[in-house]
Symmetry: C2
Subunit: 335 residues, 2 copies
């Protein structure tokens, strides 16, 4: 029988659980809301490397190593690494994967790549192919600023709608296991949505329509209302983007209070002056790996819809006057 | 029962067939070895667009449209588009996906992305999730040259080991169907392999070790010798890379004559002066979509191992003195 529900959602029938996680966070994130939850904190975002890019490659490698060590696994105990990041040609993922001698599948849906990796890996595992895989994504403030916007040396001022690309990486180990771990119960694959936003410093507005489209279709496909979940948490809409998302939902009569939240809006404290909050392919990855996973294990929450969000622009598309298409994938995680 | 064989290979148990294909080739490719096989030939590689990047986005969109029209399918008849390309942040795939209102999964393993898309899609479909999907990849000489090497306006001379990035895109429709079409029987996911090659104008040497590693492991996992296949055809090693691949195989005592071949080495004629041959994420995609698929349908060949190859560098990694890691995925296609 098909596992498809509605147009975009797939039920995961086997027990595909998130067995363990590992997270590394940068100095700014280490002073943020989840500072007590990360596995490792960087004191310096170059981490003894010669460039920010090499530091991001190291971040990516170390989180994969970290989750394997936690589980006492050797590299060849896992079937595959699924990874992605924001660097051109996802070099953080590819160059870290070369250290492991393990099959590698590179993914790119911008900051929603963590969601994409969980969706693709869990669907493959549900078909009795792979049994144990690692999904990892990363981002770095220094690499993202100079690649998408301006070199840090320019000292450019953030605009009122801007977000702060988080420095950090998160890795999760997925395993077929019927134990008492958070399980991926269903996934909704997002469509590319573009409302015509052209401001590369307003990612929240560019991504909120895609986030809402995916959440709306997930709820419709699964015949649920938002209160089925303890939390519907997007990846990196930031505060302004989260407001827009709630606005869309409330226009359709959906209940958003105490349910809708956003990793980017939560990751920094009010005192940190990070404007609308965090963003980046590492954002939902470290918030899940560090905070949400532990909350699920402690059963403070039992059902979450994690919706990593991505803006599919590049510097090239911005320079050629294009608007910013966006995408979001929804992962239903329950314990 | 697990569908895994050995360490890297997965048997596809359901009838996942390549139901149809569509290919568009650029002006140079349109004078090459497969000129009579492409569905559509460009007279001009800007294709009435304002930039090469916009032309590549159009290429990517038109091949997806093309394969849907051939099969009389509406956009929402398919479950998902799997796509990737070489542009920063895979904008050719993402911007074309926004035209379809269909779930989208972006992939990136450089020029091996066509193989990655077939592997990921067929494993997902084999798990009774999706039933009908499109896989598409593209590349463009103008966008790749200025992104990875030099702007065309500089008139830079090709070096003796260089390859010519093909302009073109290919799309295939995968469907669960037990009819008389080429079927994906097994897939081998590649590891990232780096022999320390640093010359970005010698992709063949950088990728040949990864191609051989994947082919060797595929044959071992499936307990086969090369002559099981009518053809073992890599993606874009070029002539020099193909020689290296054969050298590795022959050192291990494998038979390579009349079996090993390469899409990049074949795509241009000798008179075209394209040095070692073609390369790019579109290379294996158009050679399969245009030529190999028709040869399989006509039963001139019945079993091929298609092994798209990718060099995982970016301009950034080259500028930071890094060597070039590579990857290859093997797709066993039989009729």
């Amino acid at each position: 029988m098909s596992k498809k529900r509605g147009k975009q959602t797939y039920v995961i029938e086997n027990d595909i659980c998130i067995k363990n996680t590992y997270s590394i966070a940068g100095p700014e994130e280490g002073e943020g809301s989840f500072k007590d939850y990360y596995d490792y904190l960087l004191e310096d975002d170059l981490w003894e490397c010669k460039s920010y890019e090499k530091a991001e490659i190291k971040l990516h490698k170390e989180v994969i190593d970290g989750v394997l060590h936690k589980e006492c696994l050797a590299n060849n105990d896992i079937d595959c690494i699924f990874g992605g990041d924001l660097l051109n040609q996802i070099i953080a993922s590819s160059y870290s994967a070369r250290e492991f001698e393990v099959p590698f599948l590179g993914l790119y849906n911008a900051c929603s790549t963590f969601g994409e990796s969980l969706a693709v890996a869990s669907m493959i595992m549900d078909g009795d192919n792979m049994e144990k895989v690692v999904c990892a994504t990363s981002s770095h403030f220094g690499t993202a600023e100079r690649q998408y916007r301006f070199p840090l040396e320019l000292g450019t001022q953030p605009t009122p709608t801007s977000q702060w690309t988080i420095t950090g990486a998160g890795a999760v180990l997925l395993e077929k296991n019927n134990g008492d771990f958070p399980k991926i119960k269903s996934v909704t694959i997002g469509k590319v949505i573009d409302y015509g936003v052209k401001d590369a410093a307003n990612m929240g507005a560019a991504m909120a329509p895609a986030a809402y489209d995916t959440i709306f279709n997930h709820l419709k496909d699964m015949n649920r209302t938002p209160d089925y979940y303890d939390m519907i948490i997007t990846g990196d809409l930031g505060k302004y983007g989260l407001d827009l998302l709630k606005h869309f939902a409330e226009e359709d009569g959906l209940q958003t209070n105490d349910i809708f939240d956003d990793c980017g809006a939560r990751i920094y404290t009010k005192d940190q002056n990070c404007v609308q909050g965090g963003s980046g392919a590492g954002c939902s990855a470290i918030v899940y790996s560090a905070y949400l996973h532990k909350e699920l294990l402690a059963k403070k929450i039992r059902k979450i819809l994690l919706v990593p969000t991505g803006a599919l622009l590049s510097r090239l598309s911005t320079m050629q006057g294009e608007s910013i298409p966006a995408i979001a994938h929804a992962i239903d995680i329950e314990i």
